[in-house]
Every structure is written in structure tokens, then in C-alpha cells.
């Protein structure tokens, strides 16, 4: 049985006096124990909303969530508020994007770690403090005893993110959702944090959902990759297959737009034309069609379905042919 089974997840934001806005539409995927799954896409494609919906953190009043999310066979959406609170932090952990704003500025780091331990593992203050020291040590924070009594602003960015990871992993959740955990950090720290995450989930049953816009992160970490566009999955493949031969024009464009070291001098970057529209119309055509170099007539008339296509899921009428990748090996990493 899959650890997490997301079926047909949809999120519609509606506000009085505004037309409803569909942020996520029919997203399905599953996560096996110990597996790392990537959700990739540009800003506004519904990655974060998907993760918040799984955690049950979307505002009840303005967000309508549909579909089902089953965690070890338990339907999360049917749980009461209290039952859901008991699971958050214990079964489902989450690491957020901005480590500074995700930590309470007026509470020392130590208390923010022990808080979870006391809440979910019923530890006494003293025992929790010892465990917190252990946790900070595990995520590579030097001198953890001193750091426990310090405030978030006294830690460096990388250390803050380490602390957040320590908090998220404090109760050994079976699923960890990392929502762009490296975006707010500089490159050298990014690499450290990624290898830390990799190390922490490797060899354990903890599954990881990695949400990112950075394909480099995905390449190094994920077993399976879901590419999102306009609130729907447009391509899903095993990591190596996806990078070796991206079939959806959007995925292809994403990979193509990465600057490369071996590019010839003066060679221009190749961006994807246009930008994500606010409310993407999937009805009556492909949402990516206006930006797609491969667009056909059918693309603006018939909505493509997510279908099996040579061992991967693909939502496209006119996928990129592997041969059309040009200098074949260039794309393979």
C-alpha cells in the first residue's frame, strides 16, 4: 500500500465578488514509503497549494478542496480538526521556504524544538531538551546546547533551515513535505541542505515530497518527478527518463532554459515564451498551447488528457520526439 495516495485533488479559491479561481485541478500521485517524489513547476502552477492541501492548512473559508488524500489508507479530509492536528508534525512533517519567517522571532530555538516533542511524544521538558540537543546535532548545527537558547535572528540562514528541518523531523514523521526548502538560501548552503535532506531520509522509511522550481534539486534528489503546469500534472516520469528525454514541451522548455557551463560563448539563453496566465483555461484546449512551440490546431480545440505514453504519464497532443532533442547527449545528465 502506498504511504500517501492523492486522488483527483482540486483546490478552488473563491471570494465574494470574485470569480472562483482554480489553483489545482485533478492532481493524482502516490508516494511509497522511503520514496522521494518531486513536484516541479514555475511560480503559480499549484505546487505549494497542493502541499498545503495535503497538510490541511488551506483556509477553510476561501478554499474549496476536492478529491481525496489517503495517508496509510486513512482519508485525511474526513478527519476532524483535532485528529488532523494530532497527525500534523507527528505523521506529516513540513519544511517551509523561508526559514527566518517560519521561526517565531521571540521564542528561543530550543523551545520551538521541544514544543513539538512535548506535544507529540509526551516528553518532559528536560528530556525534550536533551532530545533537542541531539536533533540539532544530527542536522549539523555546531554547539547545539548554546544554540538552543538563541533566537532565530542570531542564526545564519543555513542554520535556521537546519533548525527547521530538525523541528520537522523531531517526531520522525513518515512523510516529509519540503516546500522549496532551498529557495531562500545561497547556492553553497543549498547544496548542504539538500545533501542533509537526502542523508536524513536515506535508509529510513521516511518519504519525501520535494516541491521546487529548481530542476537541479530534482535531478539530485527525486526518484519520481511530477511536472505541474496550470494546476495539472503534465508529465510524470522516473528521474533519469525525464532528464534524458523530456517529452512534454513544457518540461523540455524548462530543461532547455537552464544556463549551462558548456554553452558556446555568446550563445543566448532559451526561455519559454510568455508567462503563466492567472487563471489558466484548461477547458477547450491545452493551457500551455499559447506558449508552446509544438502547438497544433487540436491543441487549442481539445483538452489533452494525462495518458500513458512509453512508460510515462504525459498530457500532450504533440510531444517532443526524443530525436528532436538535437545534440542528444546534451540533455542527458
Amino acid at each position: 500500500m502506498a504511504l500517501l495516495e492523492v486522488r483527483d485533488l482540486s483546490v478552488v479559491f473563491s471570494r465574494k465578488g470574485q470569480s472562483p479561481f482554480s489553483a489545482v485541478d485533478g492532481v493524482s500521485f502516490s508516494v511509497q514509503p522511503g520514496q522521494t517524489v518531486g513536484l516541479v513547476g514555475e511560480s503559480g502552477c499549484g505546487k505549494s497549494v497542493t502541499s498545503l492541501a495535503i497538510m490541511g492548512l488551506l483556509p477553510r473559508r476561501s478554499a474549496r478542496v476536492g478529491g481525496s488524500v489517503a495517508f496509510e489508507g486513512t482519508e485525511l479530509f474526513s478527519l476532524s480538526d483535532k485528529e488532523m492536528r494530532d497527525r500534523r508534525g507527528k505523521d506529516l512533517g513540513m519544511v517551509f521556504q523561508d526559514p527566518l519567517s517560519s521561526l517565531n522571532p521571540v521564542v528561543p530555538i530550543g523551545l520551538q524544538v521541544t514544543e513539538v516533542l512535548e506535544r507529540h511524544r509526551g516528553m518532559a521538558r528536560k528530556q525534550a531538551r536533551a532530545e533537542a540537543t541531539e536533533l540539532l546535532n544530527k542536522v549539523g548545527i555546531p554547539d547545539p546546547t548554546r544554540r538552543l537558547s538563541e533566537y532565530p535572528h542570531q542564526l545564519s540562514g543555513g542554520m535556521r533551515q537546519r533548525a527547521l528541518i530538525a523541528i520537522a523531523l523531531a517526531c520522525r514523521p513518515r512523510l516529509l513535505i519540503a516546500d522549496e526548502p532551498t529557495t531562500a538560501l545561497d547556492v553553497t548552503i543549498q547544496a548542504q541542505i539538500l545533501s542533509l535532506l537526502k542523508e536524513l531520509v536515506a535508509g529510513t522509511e521516511t518519504a519525501l515530497i520535494m516541491i521546487t522550481h529548481d530542476l537541479g534539486v530534482v535531478a539530485g534528489l527525486c526518484d519520481e518527478v511530477n511536472v505541474l503546469y496550470g494546476g495539472r500534472i503534465v508529465e510524470r516520469a522516473e528521474r533519469h527518463e525525464l532528464f534524458a528525454a523530456p517529452r512534454h514541451p513544457y518540461t523540455h522548455g524548462l530543461l532547455d532554459s537552464i544556463p549551462r557551463l558548456d554553452a558556446a560563448r555568446g550563445e543566448k539563453l532559451s526561455p519559454i515564451r510568455g508567462s503563466v496566465a492567472d487563471n489558466i483555461p484548461w477547458d477547450g484546449g491545452c493551457a500551455f498551447a499559447p506558449r508552446c512551440p509544438n502547438a497544433l490546431r487540436t491543441c487549442v480545440e481539445v483538452t489533452p488528457e494525462l495518458e500513458w505514453h512509453e512508460g510515462r504519464l504525459l498530457r500532450c497532443h504533440n510531444p517532443v520526439q526524443p530525436a528532436a532533442l538535437g545534440v542528444g547527449s546534451k540533455e542527458a545528465r
Partner: protein, 311 residues
């Protein structure tokens, strides 16, 4: 030569590193910045002097402020009130009490009224604003419409109306009236910053960890939302003192003319402005200086706590 330079450089780096490592919480940082700010020091000094005088006034007063002295009453004429004379630093007031001693004791009264009124106002305001911000929904709507109504009255008019509700006026009438005027201000202020906290990342992160709602409100929202309230409380101390004096002046305070209170002294001096203007002048100056002290401190506290002015 070169090694000497290197050594000096190394020392300097060590020094910087040691300095940077010191633990500073938000409060400590604010205190440190306040200590460097001359405005804050001025305000704090005024308040310190005022507080010392208020506490020690019964000891410091050269004469008993509640006894009429024959030396003074003998010389009271409808057209003349004795000025400074040996033993009586500022002479007599209109009733034959020692004016200087009464001014000193007045500090105590003023401090009690100002602090009590502000404390009560802050406490009730925090409860109401905290409830509105933490629970939201109809509780929020109800409480905020209530504060809207309270705020729509001019503050002094509201204070007078509240004071007028009491059958017998006393010192507490003034305190409660002034406190009630402050309540909606604090309630609204705290509610606003609680709402801002509610949508902050660290509250979302705490929610994602399954932390109890109670803990989220008291540990993650309230302490972060209190900053503006503390600043406002300091500023309110100033207005509370002025409002209390105004209420006494209008005769809504303690009716006992023996009580030494600056607002009351000011009110009673009205009829003797031509005979001895100092009777009104000194209490008025005292009120102004104390209010200024609290305002200076409050403003510099606001500055010290404001992340935008951080260097």
C-alpha cells in the same frame, strides 16, 4: 612588522567575532538602542525623577500638606495670598496649606491615577483585542463594532459621560473613566497585530507541526503582537495623566478639596488667578512635564522596537 600588523588584524577580528556572538533578544536589543538615544534618556530621567518624588513625597515634603498653618491663614486676605516665606518654600495656597508640600504629594496622586488607569485600560484592551484576534468570526465583528462605537466619541466627552454614571465621584471614578477611554484603543491595536500574526509564516509553520491552538495563540501570536501595545501604553500614560487632570478640573474627581491632586489644584486656583497665578502655573507645568516625559519615552520605545529603523 608584517606579523605585527597581522596580529593586530587577527585581534580585531576576534574582537568583532566575540561581540557578534553575544546573545541579544528583541527586548535586549531595544533596551540597548534606547540607552543610546538622548530622547529616551531625557524621557526616562523625567519619569525617574517624577517616580522618586511620588514615592518619597510624604518624606520629602517639608510641611504636612494636609494641615492649615496659622502662619499662613493669618495672612490670607481676599486680595492677597502669602508668597514664599521662611519654612514655606512657595508660600500658601488659597486655603492656608503649604503649597510646595501639596505639589510634591500631588505627584503621588497623579502617578497612582495615571498608572492604574493605564493598567486597567491595557488589561481589558488586551483581553478584548486578544479574543477578537485569536477567535475571529462573529466574536471579532461584535467586539470591533463595539470599539468602533467607543472610538466614535471624543475621548474627553466619553470620559465625562462614564464619570457622570457614578452616583458619588471619587478618585476611582477618574481612574475608571480614563481607563475605559483607553480600552478600545488597545483592543483595536492588539487585534490588528494579532491578525497580522495569524497570517505569518511562523504561525503557519507551528500549525503544520500540530501545535495546540492555545499554544499558538499564547506562545506564537501574543508575544509577537504585544510590541505596539507596550509602546501605546507608555504614550497612554501621558494622556491618562492629562485626562485625569481634566476630569478633576471639571469637578468629576474626588470632591474632597483637601486632597492634593494637580488637576484639582488647577481647578481650585481658577478664582485666584489674579491674586496668585503661581497656584495654577506650577501644577500645570508639572502635568505638562510629566506627560512630556512619558511621551518622549513612548516615542523612543516605538522607534527602538520598529524593525524599519534598525541599523
Amino acid at each position: 612588522m608584517a606579523s605585527k600588523l597581522m596580529q593586530r588584524r587577527r585581534d580585531r577580528i576576534d574582537e568583532l567575532a566575540a561581540g557578534a556572538d553575544e546573545g541579544v533578544s528583541l527586548a535586549k536589543d531595544a533596551m540597548r538602542r534606547m540607552a543610546r538615544n538622548p530622547v529616551a534618556i531625557t524621557g526616562a530621567s523625567i519619569i525617574a525623577v517624577f517616580a522618586v518624588l511620588a514615592v518619597l513625597s510624604p518624606v520629602l515634603a517639608p510641611k504636612d500638606p494636609f494641615i492649615r498653618y496659622n502662619e499662613l491663614t493669618d495672612r490670607l486676605r481676599p486680595d492677597a495670598i502669602p508668597g514664599p516665606m521662611p519654612g514655606f518654600l512657595l508660600g500658601s495656597d488659597q486655603n492656608g496649606y503649604d503649597f510646595f508640600s501639596r505639589l510634591l504629594v500631588g505627584a503621588q496622586q497623579t502617578l497612582i491615577v495615571g498608572v492604574m488607569a493605564t493598567l486597567i485600560g491595557v488589561s481589558i484592551g488586551i483581553v478584548l483585542g486578544g479574543l477578537a484576534g485569536a477567535i475571529g468570526g462573529w466574536v471579532d465583528t461584535l467586539l470591533m463594532r463595539f470599539t468602533d462605537i467607543m472610538l466614535s466619541f471624543p475621548s474627553l466627552l466619553l470620559a465625562i459621560s462614564i464619570a457622570a454614571l457614578f452616583a458619588r465621584t471619587s478618585q476611582w471614578t477618574v481612574i475608571i473613566a480614563v481607563a475605559m477611554v483607553a480600552v478600545p484603543i488597545f483592543a483595536r491595536l492588539l487585534r490588528g497585530s494579532m491578525l497580522a500574526q495569524r497570517h505569518s509564516d511562523h504561525v503557519l509553520a507551528a500549525t503544520a507541526l500540530g501545535v495546540h491552538r492555545r499554544t499558538i495563540v499564547f506562545r506564537h501570536m501574543l508575544p509577537n503582537a504585544l510590541g505596539p501595545v507596550i509602546v501605546q501604553a507608555t504614550l497612554t500614560l501621558a494622556t491618562a495623566i492629562i485626562d485625569a487632570a481634566a476630569l478633576s478640573f471639571l469637578g468629576l474627581g474626588d470632591p474632597d478639596p483637601v486632597r492634593a491632586e494637580w488637576g484639582l489644584m488647577l481647578a481650585n486656583a481658577q478664582d485666584y488667578l489674579e491674586v496668585k497665578p503661581e497656584l495654577a502655573f506650577y501644577p500645570a507645568i508639572a502635568i505638562i512635564v510629566v506627560a512630556l516625559g512619558f511621551t518622549l519615552l513612548g516615542e523612543s520605545l516605538r522607534e527602538a522596537l520598529d524593525p524599519k529603523t534598525r541599523r
